[in-house]
């Protein structure tokens, strides 16, 4: 059976070469906002940036084989692959206190126009390539053309149980506008209670299977965003410039997140300073059985 029956199997897998060390370097060029979540997939480095290219409103799957992302090794089915360890470090002080999340970027609906006040219907001809039932899948709107901010929007979706017509809580667009900003993230203020990286789903929902439409409210705005479907896998933080931060997900979190075959992996980050020109260098280690 796929997975690890016990600790001995983990050690055996590493001895048998079922283990990968993969390095990465992401280096944002934008001046990011303190306390505002930012999508590092759009930043230069290794792997190459993701630009959310696609037809407006059409779901585009993201895969390692076609789009890159952080390397995690090839397909292992019928075995199962896990994230074992992460290490991150930076030598730029302004970026040295930064929580990060590793996500499986499942796919996105591109170029949603913030100036269109009519309901914008989305195309789901292409299904989700992974996590197809939507369990744990979250909605992450990413700025691809800057906005002014302050205007509300909602998303209508089908939840993890297949129930359609679900609606996110109305949130306001951030006033932080550089490309890669997560549109719903803002560091506080009474009008921005929903400051996290993911859109608040309707009460009771834990995931998203597909998105049917987006509705921009207020007077609209001038920007564009990509609506990304992601599965959060793991968290890690940059703490200081003098030492790397490491997490062993078996020993320190008692869970090793599953990495699906052909997953497109990348990070989001919430700097307390700025990520501008800060190289974030690290290692991602996976094992499978």
């Amino acid at each position: 059976m796929a997975g690890f029956a016990n600790a001995r199997r983990l050690a055996d897998a590493q001895d048998a070469g079922q283990y990968l060390y993969a390095s990465f370097r992401k280096q944002a060029t934008q001046t990011t906002g303190a306390g505002v979540w930012f999508d590092l997939s759009m930043s230069p480095g290794n792997p190459a940036p993701n630009y959310y290219i696609g037809s407006p409103g059409v779901f585009v799957p993201l895969k390692q084989s076609t789009d890159g992302g952080l390397r995690h090794g090839g397909n292992v089915s019928p075995a199962r692959k896990f994230l074992r360890k992460l290490m991150v470090t930076t030598n730029t002080a302004a970026a040295s206190v930064t929580p990060m999340k590793l996500l499986d970027y499942i796919g996105f609906y591109g170029f949603i126009d913030e100036s269109v006040l009519d309901k914008q219907f989305l195309d789901n001809t292409t299904p989700l390539p992974r996590h197809a039932d939507g369990a744990g899948v979250q909605l992450m709107p990413v700025v691809v053309a800057g906005q002014t901010g302050g205007q509300p929007f909602t998303v209508s979706y089908t939840n993890q149980d297949g129930v359609a017509g679900r609606t996110t809580t109305s949130v306001l667009m951030s006033t932080q506008f550089v490309n890669g900003t997560i549109l719903c993230s803002q560091n506080g203020g009474a009008t921005y209670p929903h400051a996290g990286p993911f859109l608040p789903l309707q009460t009771g929902d834990t995931g998203v299977r597909s998105v049917q439409s987006v509705t921009i409210g207020g007077i609209g705005d001038v920007g564009l965003f990509a609506l990304e479907l992601v599965k959060p896998l793991a968290s890690i933080s940059l703490y200081e410039i003098t030492a790397a931060s490491e997490t062993d997900y078996l020993v320190e979190a008692a869970t090793m997140p599953v990495i699906e075959d052909d997953a497109y992996l990348n990070f989001i980050a919430m700097p307390t300073g700025t990520l501008a020109n800060a190289p974030i260098i690290g290692l991602l280690e996976t094992t499978w059985n």
Partner: protein
């Protein structure tokens, strides 16, 4: 026997059987309540993901209402649903939280399972008020480890009443009283604050003190204010504390491994309504965001 039989079994359940759930949460302090250092607050009514509750303060005065993860308008943090109709064992394996909001750190977060509440609109009534326990605890039914706190859903008026409970403890003994010195409510206590928390005499937090020898509350029979609170709506909330998570520094993630670091693996029952309490370590502006994640595993 339910639960993890060994570390090997934990690895097997999480990796082979997929018995794992991760939730990424984000909550802000209440939109109109700035936090005072040294006071405890509930983040249940703060906006975010999940959104703010709108259930506290509703329902029949003095009557207990149970809370679950499926209760309308109760917005607990998701934990992966039921695992085996009450016979499965779900545990919290790790937790993390951080904030980048100015002056929000340091603070201490406490995760609780909200079991239910008694809304109290008769806040000008002094002396014992009988509570209605037609509805009973939905989880921890014997009251083991169950604690109580008092928080407004409408801002309180002028008054600094002593607060006393008459309750049945987790051993089934009725008529127990909150011991003296009684907690003293804060005047004009803000929505989401725990009204008797603070740093002076008669201040406790976050929970009402129990009689000597008691470790839990099965039900509360009487609620007593020694003086009028003038106006407002209180809620006497029963909960089970699960873990604490101190945030030390702005931007620095607080992390807890509850298997290897702080071996406790708090159990989360089917239907649990999870929420954070927060001890403010600094004057914290309204709507200050905190975020983090919880990871669960089950057998």
């Amino acid at each position: 026997m339910s639960g993890f039989a060994s570390t090997d079994d934990l690895i097997n359940q999480v990796s082979t059987n997929g018995n794992h759930f991760r939730v990424d949460w984000q909550k802000s302090t209440f939109a109109t309540t700035a936090h005072t250092a040294g006071l405890w607050y509930s983040l249940f009514r703060g906006g975010g993901n999940p959104g703010a509750d709108t259930i506290l303060g509703t329902g029949t005065n003095l009557a207990f209402q149970a809370l679950t993860d499926a209760t309308t308008n109760a917005t607990g943090i998701r934990h992966g649903g039921d695992v085996g109709g009450g016979t499965g064992y779900k545990h919290i394996l790790s937790a993390a939280a951080q904030t980048a909001a100015a002056t929000t750190a340091p603070c201490v977060l406490m995760l609780v399972d909200l079991l239910g509440f008694y809304p109290i609109t008769t806040v000008t009534t002094t002396g014992d008020q009988a509570l209605d326990n037609t509805v009973t605890l939905p989880r921890y039914t014997d009251g083991a480890g169950v604690q109580a706190f008092v928080t407004p859903s409408t801002v309180m008026g002028a008054g600094t009443p002593n607060i006393r409970l008459t309750y049945t403890d987790s051993g089934g003994t009725a008529g127990n009283l909150t011991p003296t010195t009684l907690p003293i409510g804060n005047t004009a206590a803000a929505v989401t604050s725990i009204v008797y928390s603070g740093t002076g005499n008669g201040k406790f937090g976050p929970f009402m003190p129990l009689a000597a020898g008691d470790s839990g509350i099965r039900s509360v029979q009487q609620f007593n204010l020694s003086a009028t609170y003038t106006s407002g709506v209180l809620n006497l909330v029963l909960c089970k504390p699960l873990l604490t998570l101190p945030i030390t520094t702005l931007g620095v993630t607080a992390e807890r491994d509850l298997v290897n670091q702080f071996m406790s693996m708090p159990r989360v029952y089917d239907g649990a309504c999870l929420a954070w309490l927060m001890l403010a370590g600094a004057a914290t502006p309204v709507a200050s965001p905190l975020s983090g994640h919880l990871e669960f595993g089950w057998s």
